[in-house]
Symmetry: C2
């Protein structure tokens, strides 16, 4: 990286060292190979991985089931992004953007992609975790805020602080400042409100998966660097959500990294968690 | 920028050269000064600037008016982000994230922020530019896609290619690759569909404001660098939308930069455009 770089007239793809995950980044879209997706017995088929965007959806599904919405029963299939599963033809048919999570509703053949769209779809389908009237608009304000802001946290701060091949100061400074500004936006709102919109909703679930988990020290090993403890209201709210049993289950689904006892690679039945708990007790 | 940089344990704010717009970036949120927002005579009060996110909303408002939804009459007030208008207390009350666009619906006192949330709110309020059933879900998939993807185009590619204080090769390569991948996602969809979801909708408006205008050569002087002409289906779709009279009006509203004849700093009446056209003919 040199500060005397002059961009060419037309950008061309040279496969260089792009840091961790570089092998899955391409300048073209579409499938790289033919592969059908597996389909299980439940109404909803989820193809995902327990990144913050994946966790949003599994937390909501577990919350829906805990609230008695049996129509939210789902099969969760692991998409190994390091192996390029997201470029299989079946996956691309569900999400042409080749990103997790992706959802198929087998009751009506509907594809749903983008985590925010999946949250809205499920909340509307089951009439849950999304208030009505003005509170609905406020929840949507914050849901869209999360979708438009987290790229600066994940693709900006997280990439340059944790995954880039070198520590480049300028982008680290730029995206650290933005990550802290975003945390402060949330902290000021939560200083005066229990939740983002009157009641616990998909806005909280979406924001918690990124910023709540950042506060809890689970992202990028950056808790000290960003001084997350100073955002006291975010911390209070993050811990309250983290204590919910559905959230604890949702975090485990499609997890193939981190602590082994948290890893439930696939989820096809509520009892899958019990087996996992027994593993934990036994192990 | 050095590749021997070692981040400190805790990030601190040092005001350095952050390139163009650096003076409006801060690591803290909230108002910097007391200032009420102006309020005009119409039901909807918009506080904005004709960036791609701002244009989304003025295009939809002009489309709604053109379709006969007189309840969509609006006053559009210019927010000078270089002067810090977005940090005034009145603006922060409407959008705690201090970004344009922000909307107040004076008929019910509702605040709406985030451009995607404003598009959804208006489409639902007037029952227009958002299809029903499965096509609605598909439109929402693409609307959320735009919200989650454009930060890589604007805050990533645009910043490092056009605004950063130096040309840094690594982030330019990283975000150029992603911008091209995104264009290819759109191109492949538009190869087989006229619009993003059955009919012209808020998904098209949102995506056009960023990617359509990128294709038309209006963003970052990057048309050649990203070889936008190669995305032929995006180009066909971008030109079709650009030819709509409502889109041409929407682009002018709250514009305070670029060609003088395109600048309508504030919009308070449909006749404001006629005056502007006379200026153009006269000048």
């Amino acid at each position: 990286m040199s500060d005397t770089y002059t961009p060419p007239k037309v950008w061309t793809w040279e496969q260089k060292n792009g840091g961790e995950f570089a092998n899955i980044n391409r300048p073209i879209a579409g499938p790289t190979h033919d592969k059908d997706l597996p389909v299980g017995k439940h109404p909803l088929q989820l193809y995902s991985l327990a990144t913050p965007n994946g966790v949003k959806v599994t937390v909501l599904l577990e919350e829906l089931l805990a609230a008695g919405h049996t129509g939210a029963e789902y099969d969760a299939w692991l998409i190994k992004i390091g192996d390029g599963d997201q470029f299989g033809s079946g996956f691309v048919d569900v999400n042409p953007n080749s990103k997790i999570p992706a959802l198929m509703d087998t009751t009506n053949g509907q594809r749903v992609f983008e985590s925010g769209s999946i949250l809205l779809y499920l909340a509307e389908k089951f009439g849950a975790f999304l208030p009505e009237g003005g509170a609905r608009t406020e929840a949507m304000n914050w849901l869209f805020w999360q979708m438009g802001s987290a790229p600066y946290l994940g693709g900006g701060f997280g990439h340059f602080y944790a995954y880039a091949p070198e520590k480049f100061q300028y982008p680290i400074d730029r995206f650290s400042m933005e990550a802290k500004r975003q945390m402060d936006v949330l902290d000021r709102h939560l200083a005066e409100h229990e939740w983002f919109a009157e009641e616990y909703s998909i806005a909280d679930i979406a924001i918690w998966s990124w910023y709540g988990q950042l506060a809890l020290g689970r992202l990028y090993n950056a808790a000290e660097f960003l001084d997350v403890a100073s955002y006291k209201h975010v911390m209070r709210w993050a811990e309250a959500i983290d204590a919910r049993p559905a959230v604890q289950r949702g975090r485990m689904v499609n997890r193939s990294f981190g602590e082994p006892e948290m890893q439930l690679h696939e989820r096809h039945d509520a009892s899958d968690f019990e087996t996992k708990t027994q593993d934990k007790l036994g192990g």
